[in-house]
């Protein structure tokens, strides 16, 4: 359903760009933009279509401008409750074709771009954690010189707890101490990098569908 040529004017790529650059940019652009098109009902005018979509652009932090068959909008500090909160700007354009009129839209989302880049940020945190853990690791010599350890005291439970059957505390195991000395772990950073990679995939598909559904519901609303 995407019609890139219809929105070529809104891309504003400098003429100096080669066709290869343009293909590369279009591929990169896909990361943070959502494009699509919806056929209008037979006989539906551009005024009527934009009139039905108009409430979407009367949200706090949203400015919009209409020029003929093109509507551009921009959002700043949009509320979480805004149905188009995930988008920061966009262009909607109605084009007349032989079969009727079609609404083309191109929506830009910084949130999608940030989510796409988030795994890189968390991978860098993982790298930093590995470096810090390496620097913190005591050498064999330092470990040998380590201050004398405190005596491990086995504590007693209060008689009430003993009567109620709570397990008695054990003497700390030597193995546990060596685990403590390992320093910070990069595992959480790797996990979050993976979480954001998955979230990006979900968001890219979900938000495209939600935007399409929102426009369709508005255009068909009585």
């Amino acid at each position: 359903m995407t019609n890139p040529s219809a929105l070529a004017s809104s891309r504003r790529l400098p003429q100096a760009f080669t066709s290869g650059d343009r293909v590369a940019f279009r591929f990169l652009d896909w990361i943070w933009t959502i494009q699509g098109s919806l056929p209008l009902a037979p006989g539906q005018s551009g005024d009527d279509a934009f009139g039905r979509l108009d409430p979407l652009f009367h949200q706090p932090g949203t400015s919009h401008e209409r020029s003929g068959d093109t509507l551009t909008f921009r959002k700043k500090d949009q509320a979480a409750q805004d149905k188009m909160a995930v988008f920061d700007s966009g262009v909607l354009r109605i084009e007349r074709v032989s079969a009727g009129a079609v609404l083309h839209y191109r929506l830009v989302s910084r949130a999608l771009l940030a989510c796409f880049l988030a795994p890189l940020l968390f991978l860098s945190f993982a790298g930093l954690t590995v470096v810090v853990a390496h620097l913190q690791k005591p050498s064999a010599e330092d470990a040998a010189k380590k201050k004398p350890e405190k005596k491990d005291v086995v504590r007693q439970l209060h008689p009430i707890d003993q009567a109620l059957g709570a397990p008695a505390p054990e003497k700390p195991k030597k193995d546990d101490k060596s685990k403590d000395d390992e320093g910070p772990s990069p595992t959480p950073a790797y996990v979050f990098a993976a979480i954001f990679a998955v979230l990006y995939g979900v968001g890219r598909v979900l938000e495209a569908r939600l935007a399409r559904r929102l426009f369709r519901q508005r255009l068909l609303s009585a």
């Binding site: 706090p60 932090g61 500090d77 949009q78 509320a79 979480a80 409750q81 909160a85 995930v86 949130a111 940030a114 989510c115 988030a118 968390f122 945190f125 993982a126 930093l128 954690t129 810090v132 504590r155 007693q156 439970l157 209060h158 009430i160 707890d161 109620l164 059957g165 709570a166 397990p167 505390p169 054990e170 910070p184 959480p188 950073a189 996990v191 979050f192 979480i195 954001f196 979230l199 979900v202 968001g203 979900l206 938000e207």
Partner: protein, 363 residues
């Protein structure tokens, strides 16, 4: 622009800074939003700037059949007592921090699902963008902030205090019954957090890092993590971690925090039992604390034990749907990171900068 509050004094409606609102309020001038009369709670007039609901009798109940009513009435106490029983009797091989972390993550995932089943407000429903933003802050907490915390945060402070004082004098603490130890750890820590949080709402340098957290416009399970990292260090500096306690008591205290404190930021409607909401902080209390009404935000400071607010006269029983600052303006992550510093700088310039002398003298 400085953080502004929309207020009305008499016929004058204006946006003023937090400090100006404080100054005028301290001079006894009541600010309010024209059409709202507000509700008098003790000496306060609450809900004059934004709608709030005051009093348990006015708060909606869970809608649905008897099974749903039963589940959403007894879910919170059942989980609390189940967790206490688990940590009290779990064998030593299971009763360790990694199990607690696993239970914590599993519980939060379950509560996320519960937000879809029985939301408190449709306007708080979690969207993809909100989920990603919240998880970004959760991720920071588990990674880079945790790393820094080990050097300069509460972990480092606790270690320094524990090595500079002979805490064996307090060894009697470990001889007390486990549940009493757990209660004291939880309560004393919350007591410290109460005063830190109250300080944040009353002293401008502390308010600056905390203000960012008040820009959230809805409550969801991970919203507690949203805020400027400076605040996250401050809020961790409570007391209570200094005692030498039994590990099992600490795990029990953590379970109380999980089974009570987690509900501060959640979009689920519960019929919390009367005794629960008398003792513990609830979503209702905390939504009022996040209200767009200035006076309402100056209440319900505690983390788990709302009874601390009752002790010091800052508890208001009620709830709010319309949350946030500056009329509900959502703050971007970039601004959340820089806001305390840019705002602090602007305030310093306003107070000490040369612009304040740029007035034309009268002829």
């Amino acid at each position: 622009m400085l953080a502004r509050l929309r207020v009305q004094w008499g016929a004058e409606t204006t946006f003023v800074s937090w400090r100006a609102a404080q100054d005028r309020r301290s001079r006894g001038e009541h600010c309010g939003y024209g059409r709202m009369d507000g509700v008098r709670v003790g000496n306060r007039l609450v809900g004059t700037q934004a709608p709030v609901t005051i009093g348990w009798e006015n708060i909606p109940r869970v809608e649905g059949g008897p099974v749903k009513q039963f589940v959403f009435t007894w879910f919170q106490p059942a989980v609390l007592f189940a967790l206490i029983a688990f940590w009290y009797y779990a064998p030593n091989s299971i009763a360790k921090a990694s199990t607690a972390i696993g239970i914590g993550i599993g519980f939060r995932l379950f509560l996320l699902a519960l937000e879809w089943v029985n939301p408190r407000y449709a306007s708080w429903q979690l969207t993809w963008k909100e989920a990603v933003t919240d998880l970004f802050y959760v991720g920071l907490g588990y990674t880079i902030l945790g790393l820094i915390e080990g050097f300069i945060g509460s972990d480092a402070v606790i270690e320094w205090v524990q090595t500079s004082y002979d805490w064996s004098k307090l060894a009697w603490f470990t001889g007390m019954p486990l549940l009493l130890q757990a209660f004291l750890i939880s309560f004393i820590f919350d007591f410290g957090q109460y005063w830190m949080h109250r300080g944040m709402h009353n002293w401008y340098p502390l308010w600056l890092p905390h203000s960012v957290h008040h820009y959230i416009t809805q409550l969801n399970i991970n919203k507690g993590a949203v805020g400027n990292p400076v605040e996250l260090f401050l809020i961790g500096l409570g007391i209570g971690g200094f005692f030498d306690f039994l590990p099992r008591a600490a795990l029990l205290a953590g379970a109380i925090g999980l089974a009570v404190g987690t509900y501060q930021h959640i979009n689920v409607r519960f019929n919390s039992p009367r005794w629960w909401r008398f003792l513990f902080n609830t979503t209702e209390h905390h939504s009022l604390h996040h209200s767009q009404d200035f006076e309402a935000t100056r209440s319900n400071y505690s983390n788990s034990w709302i009874i601390i607010d009752r002790m010091f006269g800052t508890c208001i029983d009620g709830e709010a749907e319309l949350l946030g600052m500056e009329g509900g303006r959502r703050m971007s992550i970039r601004e959340q990171m820089t806001f305390p510093f840019t705002e602090g700088w602007k305030t310093l310039k306003e107070k000490y900068g040369k612009d304040r002398y740029d007035t034309v003298p009268a002829e």
